[in-house]
């Protein structure tokens, strides 16, 4: 996926004026937020589950090499293959190689954010293979030639009306007006692809070290068809998704659906352990897992380790008022919203994603809903610190901060400066007591008036009160 985070400012303004996007965002936001609240209200121990999940993840990250080794052994023992990819290039090459070996012509895909992260679809289609996304949201954006705007609902930015038009144009069938008929049409179109697929690629919500299994949750069952009907099943996953055993998985399954969509559980929870064994009624002939590092081990050793707890539920996106205003595309890469604003600079570089850590009010709502308690605001602040040290901030901001720092460190100067400013601004405010436009503060006054000061600062007036 092309990296366009450098255009965040322009893209966010365009997004703010997109009425379809606004409708779609409002609808999904209400659904997700209310749904999550209702779901967790049913689980009195939800807070304890969050704490447990955090503890399990921290333990795994502390011992990641151990659990990855155990996982690899277990996969191998069940007849599968594990491939480690250092970066996106290696990951693409490995998957491409497996597909070529399998003489693949048609490839079905379940939803996988890692496959987006490594830019897999372009590599496969570039090699002449037909790639069919089978998650409804992914299928919609594939038809539209777009990228996901949300990590759980990739087509969340589209209204139902837009999907009706899209399907009518691509399927050459009479337009369907309801969600049910649209789903039915996608389903029947995809059915044939499942049967023709040579390779099925899915992501993994969790990898289980003890059993060597990969686990996916879906609501459409498309993941099951993708991985059981093709000859070869390839799992693409980040290295951090491994958990020790099935008991640990149970904790996360209780958190995931409630945090993501407000469901008690997703419709399908599917475990895959190796290829088809003797006596199995179905399953692929070969089973491969491509474990992608792509910057993760670097995060493991630094200040951003907590970010590797992320289970990609999307709750931080759903509750972020900035995401809710501009949607996911403006963020410019695979991962949007709060989690994306941390991951994108770390994976793609601080410079090209300058705006992402900054375009946040640090309101903390993301952290308060995160099922694994990632301190997202503090991480964004830490990224700003790294940008500051690398002098990536606009020059004007750098100087403004330096001046503020100097003045604020000299109380007499600070209070004198404030006293002058209070008088000037109070004069400008006049009888209306507000200022409509002000040089040096245009970014404030471009959208709002500036309430004018009352005339004398508190610190000026206080000593007089004390004397009287």
């Amino acid at each position: 996926m092309r990296m366009e985070s450098a255009r965040f400012k322009q893209a966010s303004v365009v997004a703010l004026h997109d009425m379809n996007l606004r409708t779609a965002l409002a609808r999904s936001r209400d659904g997700f937020i209310g749904g999550r609240q209702r779901a967790i209200d049913q689980v009195p121990e939800f807070e304890q589950l969050r704490e447990d999940a955090k503890r399990i993840k921290d333990h795994v990250l502390e011992n990641l090499d151990h659990y990855l080794m155990r996982y690899e052994e277990a996969v191998t023992a069940s007849g599968g293959h594990v491939h480690f990819a250092r970066d996106a290039d290696e990951a693409r090459a490995i998957v491409l190689d497996i597909c070529r070996q399998a003489n693949a012509k048609t490839i079905t895909k379940g939803k996988s954010m890692v496959s987006e992260e490594i830019g897999l679809n372009d590599a496969l289609t570039g090699a002449g293979m037909e790639v069919v996304e089978t998650d409804l949201g992914e299928y919609i954006i594939q038809l539209a030639g777009e990228t996901p705007s949300h990590i759980v609902g990739p087509a969340l930015h589209k209204t139902r009306e837009q999907v009706t038009e899209l399907f009518a144009a691509h399927h050459r069938l009479p337009p369907k007006e309801t969600v049910a008929t649209l789903v039915a049409e996608a389903r029947s179109t995809l059915r044939d692809k499942f049967f023709r697929a040579d390779v099925g690629i899915t992501g993994a919500n969790f990898l289980i070290a003890e059993t060597g299994s990969s686990l996916i949750v879906t609501n459409e069952g498309n993941g099951d068809l993708t991985q059981t009907l093709s000859r070869v099943h390839i799992v693409t996953s980040g290295v951090e998704r491994v958990l020790p055993n099935l008991d640990d998985v149970a904790v996360f399954l209780r958190l995931l659906a409630r945090s993501a969509t407000g469901q008690d559980t997703e419709t399908y929870t599917t475990l895959s352990t190796g290829p088809r064994h003797v006596g199995d009624p179905d399953g692929p002939e070969a089973y491969h897992v491509v474990l992608v590092d792509n910057g993760r081990s670097k995060m493991l050793g630094g200040e951003f380790r907590d970010m590797l707890r992320c289970i990609r539920c999307g709750a931080c996106l759903n509750h972020c008022p900035v995401y809710g205003s501009i949607g996911g595309h403006a963020y410019g890469w695979v991962y949007p919203g709060p989690m994306g604003s941390v991951l994108t600079p770390l994976m793609q570089g601080l410079d090209g994603a300058y705006d992402l850590p900054n375009a946040c009010t640090l309101n903390g709502r993301c952290q308060s809903v995160c099922p694994v308690k990632i301190p997202l605001p503090q991480m964004l602040r830490e990224l700003r610190h790294m940008q500051h040290r690398a002098r990536l901030a606009p020059v004007a901001q750098h100087y403004a901060l330096a001046i503020w720092r100097y003045v604020a460190a000299h109380p007499k100067l600070y209070h004198f400066g404030n006293a002058c400013a209070a008088r000037v601004l109070a004069l400008l405010g006049g009888r209306r007591k507000r200022i409509g436009t002000l040089p040096f503060a245009r970014s404030w006054t471009s959208v709002r008036d500036l309430p004018a000061p009352q005339g004398r600062t508190f610190m000026e007036q206080w000593p007089r009160r004390e004397k009287s």
Binding site: P321, V322, Q387
Partner: protein, 259 residues
């Protein structure tokens, strides 16, 4: 707790420059509750703007300055959840690698409070005899809400104000789009967020907006003025101190919106 605790009053930047009357309202509330209030002249900014902009060194210097100015008091109190959250939570983080300073930061944090939560949680003030005619809605500012757990305290205190009816707005816990420098770095996104907030305020039918942080209140009041939405805006402390009879934040006063 001493009967008359000595309180170092933290004069937040925005209050000091834009709304000193809020400072005097705060002091009045503290004194009425039995505190001896002092205002150290050596104080300036808590350091949050630098901290949130990534200038950790600058923030550290201001943190130390604030610690020195205030550590002699029984309590440090200021009329802002945002500034007080910086003192309570961020100083110890900023100074974690400097042993002595870290300890001093932790000690200061333990006795630093946002004004309304101090009145409610520490001084156990239950009822303040104040009067305010109107229907108000309350915006929960993010730092106060999520970093300091301020939610029930201002509402409980406001419940004792004669003539005031409090109605809750939808999404009262959602950010208003201020976010410190965010609102000037990304004015268009901020505009959408504050418009959403104003729509929620309007839907309640309230004529007054109350809150606990001047930044948010100036943002909302400024946008209301720009878009012509009639709304008087006060800091909660001004209403509780009986000092909300003059001009509201942004100029809209009690009398103006009456007719």
């Amino acid at each position: 707790m001493p009967t008359h605790p000595r309180v170092g009053f933290f004069a937040t930047c925005l209050m000091n420059l834009f709304r000193p009357s809020l400072g005097f309202a705060s002091v009045k509330l503290l004194e009425n509750a039995g505190c001896i209030v002092e205002v150290p002249a050596a104080q300036t900014c808590c350091g949050q703007p630098g901290y949130n902009s990534g200038d950790f060194d600058g923030a550290r210097a201001l943190a130390k300055q604030t610690i020195v100015a205030f550590e002699r008091y029984d309590y440090v109190v200021g009329p802002s959840g945002s500034c007080m959250a910086t003192i309570r939570h961020d100083y110890s983080e900023l100074l974690k690698d400097e042993a002595i300073w870290h300890d001093r930061a932790v000690a200061l944090a333990a006795k630093s409070f946002e004004l309304l939560s101090f009145l409610s949680d520490v001084l156990h003030v239950e009822r303040i005899g104040a009067q305010f005619e109107g229907v108000a809605t309350y915006h929960d500012s993010c730092s106060g809400l999520r970093s300091l757990g301020i939610k029930g305290q201002p509402r409980a205190l406001l419940a004792g104000v004669d003539g005031l009816r409090l109605v809750e707005m939808r999404d009262t816990e959602v950010c208003c789009g201020f976010g410190g420098t965010f609102c000037v770095k990304y004015p268009e996104i901020s505009e959408r967020m504050v418009d959403d907030k104003l729509a929620n305020i309007k839907a309640t039918g309230a004529d007054t907006l109350l809150g606990g942080d001047l930044g948010c209140l100036m943002n909302i009041a400024g946008r209301a003025a720009r878009t012509g939405q009639k709304l008087r805006v006060f800091h909660t402390a001004e209403v509780l101190a009986g000092m909300a009879d003059g001009s509201g934040i942004g100029g809209e006063s009690k009398n103006e919106s009456k007719h």
